[in-house]
């Protein structure tokens, strides 16, 4: 089954086109990455797929459901980790996860939520308000929030952002676990080589246009990125 089927997506902000005629398919159960320079349209693409914003043209089908006509069905099956964490800063880590559980009717018991925090290394900070968290800890909690949704399609925008080296390994491990569970992941990242090692499929965006879609092994370097630099390596 195709998890993501994008056909001719266009999206603009004011007079500037952020995505121009972007088309690709991602099979279910794949780990895919999208890369490109700043402003190339990666975040916009993920937000369109998550139905946070609408495409001005083109169509998106997520797990066989049209993103425009069946928006709520798509949202039930999709989770987005964006640049902003979607967290309530005055609430504690546990309260943030409990909120998601309460809305989705999931397991909201303290023990279950603490187990979720354990997965991202925050079990000892469950009762602390998010305002006291560092950027990296917020990123970890945001990841836990995404996992709490138990989605079939996970969209991660710079999942390694703000994380320390153990955090990088944590994300790698989570991605592998998600693959084993059959979830589909599409992540936007600048860490090209790291993404190549983990992902099966790669997309490259340049100025809103998709210039490559295929196996990561065949993926070209995005313009302006040297794969030999630590920046590209992401280690």
């Amino acid at each position: 089954m195709i998890a993501v089927a994008a056909a001719g997506i266009c999206r603009r902000y004011g007079r500037r086109w952020a995505l121009i005629d972007v088309s690709f398919d991602i099979p279910e159960g794949s780990l895919a990455m999208v890369t490109g320079r700043n402003g190339s349209g990666k975040s916009t693409l993920l937000r369109v797929l998550a139905t946070a914003i609408r495409a001005d043209r083109g169509s998106v089908a997520i797990l066989g459901h049209d993103a425009r006509a069946e928006r709520d069905t798509v949202r039930e099956r999709t989770a987005l980790l964006g640049h902003r964490t979607h967290l309530y800063e005055p609430l504690t880590a546990l309260e943030n996860l409990a909120l998601v559980a309460r809305f989705l009717g999931g397991d909201g018991r303290r023990s279950a939520l603490l187990a979720r925090l354990e997965e991202v290394g925050l079990a000892d900070r469950g009762d602390d308000v998010v305002q006291t968290f560092s950027a990296g800890m917020r990123q970890r909690l945001a990841l836990a929030r995404v996992l709490q949704q138990q989605p079939r399609l996970i969209l991660l925008d710079e999942p390694y952002g703000h994380l320390d080296p153990p955090g990088f390994l944590l994300v790698d491990g989570l991605l592998q676990t998600l693959r084993k569970q059959g979830s589909t992941v599409l992540m936007a990242t600048h860490l090209v080589n790291r993404g190549r090692r983990i992902c099966d499929l790669g997309l490259v965006l340049e100025a809103g246009r998709l210039v490559f879609a295929g196996a990561t092994a065949e993926m070209p370097e995005p313009a302006g990125v040297d794969a030999t630099t630590p920046f590209a390596e992401g280690a």
Binding site: R54, R75, L80, P90, L91, R102
Partner: protein, 221 residues
Amino acid sequence: MNALFAALRKDLLLQWRGRAQLIAIFAFGAAALLLFSFAIGPDSQSLRQHAAGFLWLGLLLASTLSLAESFEREMEEQALEGLLLLPVSARALYYGKSIANWAHLTLLGVALVPVMVVLYDAGTLRLLSLFGVILLGSAGLSAPGTLYAAMTSQTRARQTLLPLLLFPLVVPVLLAAVKATSLLILGDPMGQFRPWITLLAVFAVLHWSLGGLLFGRVVED
């Protein structure tokens, strides 16, 4: 219904965590009442006559701070978007927040009454009726206020835009609330209280119905 209760619980918890801000908003409303009393001067008859109007003006001005504040937390990390993507019904989120704002404005209104009594020498023995007026008036302010606070929270000039949009819309609510409160303070020989309170209730129902219908369009792309 579960989503509404979850949203309400979340908003009440956020208000509780930001209670220092709520105290500051009460102080702002009390300061407004104090300044209005200076404008009237020491004439106790005039003070009593204008007390109801100034109580509601104080509450209205304080409400813009409170309503805008209620969306600050939603926008900081795009938490509201996070809930919409779960997905949660926009209507449940709207009514949860409106009820929380309603409770807050009612509390604020009740807290401002003793200030009014002291500053304007304007009391009433019909306390239950006064509470009813504050309850209905706050409902008439909180529903459109929540809608417009959501609309303006995504703009840069939100502190200016919210009162600009809200004040014209709530004029009928304000008029009815002021008249009903005034009748309670100054006496009601012609039995006009009931029509004014009915008008207040009608506008509250209207605002709550329209707010629920429009909120999704306001917060979604």
